[in-house]
Amino acid sequence: MNDGRILDIQGLKVHFATDDGMVRAVDGVDIGIDRGETVSVVGESGCGKTVTAMTILKLIAMPPGRIVAGRILWQGRDLVPMGPEQMRSIRAKEIGFVFQEPMTSLNPVYTVGSQIAEAIREHEGLSRRAALDHAAEMLRLVNIPNPSRRVHDYPHQFSGGMRQRVMIAMALSCSPKLLIADEPTTALDVTIQAQILDLLDEMKQRLGMAVLLITHAMGVVAETAQRVVVMYAGKVVEEAPVAALFARPRHPYTQGLIRSIPRLDMAATEHRRLEAIPGTVPSLLHPPAGCRFAARCRHAVEACRAEEPALRELGPGHKAACIRADEIA
């Protein structure tokens, strides 16, 4: 264990009780983030990224969700056994959260200013007036024109990209030490996506917080993160510094994700020939025995299905959970 780690998730398991049975959404996940570091969690839709992120702040619905095992060490203190009151003092104040859907993540009946000010008033004990001034300051920080006027506008008066800026302003308004951004650009137009990623980068330069950036697009990872955690079907399958990951991805799933990044130097006709990974993420209701990726893996052998491959250290800070990692990359 690393003492510099501001957040250290160890062996986290989050299951959901449903009518069909237990959904093992997160099934033994370790993620560590150092102070001021940007870590990216990548994986296709349905791999358990959102559940992992929301569990850190206990924002998943419990029930049906339940933290079955593991620890979430925040600056050395475990968040798992904490009661609701203690969690409240962590939310927004220590860890800010930006959600995937800017169109639905703001309350339509309040002005954006009052929604940002709500967090500030809660944690900084400012008056309504002072909190609203601070909210306008935050809007200026995220490059929204006319901030002192815009605080009085309602969410429907902002575009999707602008709303995501508002969400970022809100998440950063109490100067948290960690910002969790769950696919902050997935719902946006391509041009706006780049702007929001740039904004996140800029905020990080200025404020120095750590960032946990969740995404399903490998391309986003290359631009922003220092370290990458690849998740598949509720498990971490590979973890590495970003350069090492792109130079030599060790897990066939990571290799597949990297091969499917569209590149600017490709002709449009070539885009179609991008290798998407065949098949889909298995059901987390009854995950297959052995390696969960086996059904889609071009390197799968008999032994893969026998036993779940453990995450092994393959290089400095580089781990992968594949029994054939040494042969195939």
Binding site: M87, R91, F99, S105, E122, H156, M170
Partner: protein, 319 residues
């Protein structure tokens, strides 16, 4: 906003006219004659009766009678009751306060039940509380008011003898005693009406709150570290009130309609029982007057619903 309201009111005029035309025609074509009694009275010769009819304009064609009624209405003359000879406006004004007091108290009771119970149940879906509340609401909503009314009379008036079962207009008492008697005789009609509405609205409040509670912005609110009660009140209930308030306002005319039955059971001398007795006596001016009041209520509460809706939801703009 003012412009919008004025436009809405102007739009309402044709519908009010339409309602009155239909009503007037139906009443004119309906069998029955306000002078039926005179016809069987041997002391009044038939030609006197005919003269009387002619002087009241009863023999004119329908459209002529309608026009003269309409012109009189526009001048603020609501006419006289065929039966009691009193001015229709006076009759209505005499009865209206009782109806409004009973209905108003019942609606307050209904809201006082539906809001807390519906909200509390929705924040704990499928808990014991929720299931009990749901069951009771379902039962309350399924029992017609005439049934619960009779049940209440049987229990509280006849069996226990706690409450009077006929509503008295004249109470020979003053000061505190008067209020006390008034309260005692209002309890059952208010309970019957209020519990019925409360049951219906509990179900509606619960489902409105449940609809909001799983929206993304509620998770956002929670991620800000505000208390769970602030999340519920500010971000769930406030949003859920948009459909609730609108529905309550839109339902008010129906509530008045439903109150007729309750007034009948408990003999409450309100506008509803006035309407019923007028219908039974073929008292056209009173029927027209009361129905016209009801129609105005519909238009008024539609407007109230619109205004409240825009006030609660900033996404609505009046253009």
């Amino acid at each position: 906003m003012t412009q919008y309201l004025v436009r809405r009111l102007i739009i309402a005029i044709p519908s009010l006219l339409g309602i009155s035309v239909i009503l007037f025609t139906v009443l004119a074509l309906a069998p029955g004659d306000p002078f039926e009694e005179l016809a069987t009275n041997p002391a009044i010769p038939p030609d006197v009766r005919a003269n009387l009819r002619a002087s009241l304009g009863l023999d004119d064609p329908i459209h002529v009678r309608y026009l003269s009624w309409l012109l009189a209405m526009l001048r603020g003359e609501w006419g006289f009751s065929f039966v009691s000879r009193s001015p229709v406006a006076d009759l209505i004004l005499q009865r209206l306060p009782t109806t409004i007091a009973v209905i108003g108290a019942a609606q307050l009771l209904a809201l006082a039940i539906a809001l807390p119970v519906g909200i509390y149940a929705a924040t704990r879906p499928y808990s014991i509380f929720d299931q009990i509340a749901n069951t009771l609401a379902f039962v309350g909503f399924s029992l017609p008011t005439f049934f619960t009314g009779l049940l209440f009379i049987l229990l509280f008036s006849i069996y226990l003898d706690w409450l009077p079962f006929v509503f008295r207009t004249q109470i020979d008492a003053t000061g505190w005693r008067w209020w006390w008697e008034q309260l005692r005789q209002s309890i059952m009609p208010v309970l019957v009406l209020g519990l019925f509405q409360g049951a219906a609205w509990t179900r509606f409040v619960r489902s409105a709150v449940l609809d909001v509670i799983r929206l993304d912005h509620v998770t956002t609110a929670r991620s800000k570290g505000i208390s769970e009660s602030a999340v519920t009140m500010r971000h769930v209930v406030r949003n859920a009130m948009i459909p609730v308030v609108t529905l309550v306002a839109l339902q008010m005319p129906a509530v008045f309609g439903g109150a007729i039955v309750t007034e009948q059971i408990f003999r409450v001398p309100g506008i509803g029982s006035l309407l019923i007795s007028a219908i039974l006596a073929n008292d056209t001016p009173v029927i027209m007057g009361v129905t016209f009041v009801f129609a105005c209520l519909v238009v008024f509460f539609n407007l109230v619903a619109d205004v409240l809706y825009g006030w609660l939801d900033p996404r609505i703009s009046y253009r």
